[in-house]
Structures are given as structure tokens and as C-alpha cells.
Amino acid sequence: MRPLTGDDWRSELQDLAVRIGRRVNLMEVCGTHTVALFRTGLRDLLPANVRMISGPGCPVCVTAQRHIDAAIRLAGLPGVILATYGDMLRVPGRLGSLESQRASGATVRVVQSARGAVQLARDHPDRQVVFLAVGFETTAPATAVALLEAQREGLRNFGVLVCHKLVVPAMEALLADADHCIDGFLCPGHVSVIIGADAYRPIVRRHRRPCVIAGFESGDMARAIAALLRQVHDGRAALENLYPAVVSSRGNRAAQRLLAEVFEPADGPWRALGDIPRSTLALRPRFQRFDAMQRFALRLGRDDDHPACRCGEVIMGRVEPDACPLFANGCDPLRPVGPCMVSGEGTCAAWFKYGGRARPTQPAAHGATPERVGPGVRP
């Protein structure tokens, strides 16, 4: 079922937006959606009262500063090779970045896959290889496979700094904030491949917020936004999977089994959002010997984010990037101050590159309004 094209969906969106008659805030949770909404031009074609908020779905942006600092410290230890996905190189910590650490002599290697990091450990038995494991459920199974491989081979020189995050607990944390302004979620396509559509049921049931899963094609995203508006208009909160070609109800079971074998959910820090209960992955006891922090007897420090950086509020959808005094005025992709400006999928970077649409006012805060999402809810 290919989507409506051109004017069809535009008029449908307009019609729904007019009928709703108030500002609607929809959050795209995934950084890839953020970029796709800009690049396809869809963001600018939306009705004026429909606002897309970029959520905490860019793994680079949500990695806590204390984790970046830990990675930088690990990279600086003698004999250590720090292996990382390329996106993390320029994220600023208190102590500089991995890139600056590399410039001052540390060995920082970019890998495309967690298994690439294991291979580095095999190739360099005289060095300690530490893999900076970031990413959501899409990426974490790869780390699980790498750890299982390292364990099977008895590799003693492979360690991991685990910074994996879970999407649904973060969405729930946003909704638990009394001031949130989120009317519905455009749910991430590729995270959903792993966790399955059913993972969003708590959002729909408990928090009464519509969840629609979509791919990244403009028509698919437009259809998903129309589906969200329809639910908002009808005062419903339901789960709709508009990406069934790759997202099933229960997700990728093999990946889930691997995750459960190696990791367990734990409370953990998000950049600028603080600790969120059961929102990160921690190594199960039998894998703890791979914990790089333990191996090198390091402890996580404290975050010390730039006082003017509003990444936290940007990630929560409270403000748009141009509300930050540093936006394009001391913070840009070449000299990022906050992580939202580093990653190509970061909200600030996307705004800088594609230009955000001017908005008349800041989003009006409104919490859950039971009369709007009432007894007719069919999760």
C-alpha cells in the first residue's frame, strides 16, 4: 500500500489540521526521521499548526557527557586502543573530544561494526581494545554479538564502555514530565525492527498518546503524520504500524534473545535529561569482566554541560534550536558546543543545515487532557 501522492496527502493533512484547530505537537523520536523530514521538504509542507519536535532519538546527542569523558580518559591510557563509531569522534566532553585526544597521540580507531572492534583486539594482542558502545536497540545487538564472540574466544584484551539506551523508557520519561507538550509519536522505523510494534503499547495504554511507526520515505512519513492527526482529532490513542514490511508486532526475536543474554536494563544517564529508570543497558554479571570502567578502575565523573547549551530542552521538545543563544553564534557544526550540533542527525545540526521553519511562539505546554483522549481509547 503505497501512500497518497502530492496534493492528496497535503489536502488531507490540511483538512485534519483545520478540523483540530489548535497547535499539535508531534514528536519524531528518531534522528533519521528528523533528517528525512528536512531533506524531503515534508517539514515545510506541513500545516502551520502542526509542529514536529525532534525527540531524544539521536544516539550521539543523548550520550551523557560523563560517558564521553570516560571514553576520552580510556583513550588516553597507555596501551589502549579506543574503538568507536565515527559519529562520536567530535562530541565535546569536559576534557575535549576523542578527536582532540587522538590529535594528542591517543589511538582512536573508527569501526563500522562492533565486530570490527573485536577484530582489533585479535589483531593487537599486546594492546587493550575498548569499544565505545553507543546506540539504541538497533545497534545494541551488535555489541551483544561482539561480547559473545570475545567471551567464546577468551579474549582478555577486549573491553566495552556500555552507553546503550532504550527508546521506550525515554519516551515514557518525557511523558512523565507534567509540562510536556507531546500529542503523539512518530515512532522510529529501525529501532522498531528490533523491539517490535508492541513495545509501544505502554505509551498508548498508560500515557494515552498515539504511536505510529513509519519508514523514511516522504509518502510514508506523510501518511503517518496524517494517521497521528486523525487520532488526535478523534481523541483516540492507538498503535499503528505503517512499516509492516520490516517491523513486526514482536520484533526481531533473535536480536532480543541476544540482548537479554548479555545485558539487563538499568537506570542510567542521558545527556541533559538526567537519570532515567531502566532506560539503559548494563552488562549481566557474567560479562562484567568486559566492563572497561571496572577493568581500568575508573569511575564515571559528573556532567558539566555548557551552561548556555539548551540541548536538554531541545531534546525534550521544549524549545527549538534557535532559542539557544549559542545557535549559529558560537555553536555550529564546525565548532559544536553541544552534542545536538555534532551529529548530522542532531536537531541543532539539522536546523543549522536546512534552516528551521520560524514559529510564532514557543510551544504551549499542556499535559494530558483526559477529555481529549477519553474513554474511547482503543489501545
Binding site: 534522528g31 544516539p59 563500522q112 526481531n252 541476544l258
Partner: protein, 93 residues
Amino acid sequence: MCLAVPGKVIECRGDEALVELQGNRMRVSTHLTPGAAIGDWLLIHAGFAIARLEEREALETWDYLSQAFDGEWLAEFGSEAGKRYESPPNSGL
């Protein structure tokens, strides 16, 4: 960095497959898609196949990726994959 792109399997061995991504060849793990076979289309993320998909969906995905992203991300994904993926020793692939 959550982008996943489709690739077609041209060789399989154990938990690995050699896939073709728009002319680039890349070795990926099939731990998450057990039973992947030659000719299958897989959705690939960070060196791992995360799902199988139909050819029609795969081709449409390539279409919109190249349109919406000017091939920018694809070029990076494919060429870096080819260049930088550290291949396991003695893998006959």
C-alpha cells in the same frame, strides 16, 4: 546513526554474508537474521543484517534514499563499509 539500508546477499558462510549495496560489497553478520540465503534482501545496520525484506521494498528504499539523501549517506555507508570494515581472519569470503 540508526540508518539501515538494504543489501542483496551474494554469498553466505556461517554467520556471515557478503552483500551488495548499490555496487559496493560488504561483509555483514547474519546473527540477527538466521537462515539468510543467497538472493535474499537484508536490511543492514552497523555491519549487521537486522531484518529480511522483499525485493520490491528494498528497491523502493534505495529509490527514496538516493532521492532524499542525494546518495550522500549511501556513498558514505557503502564506501566506508567497503574500506573500513575489518574482515575476520581466514574468512574465505
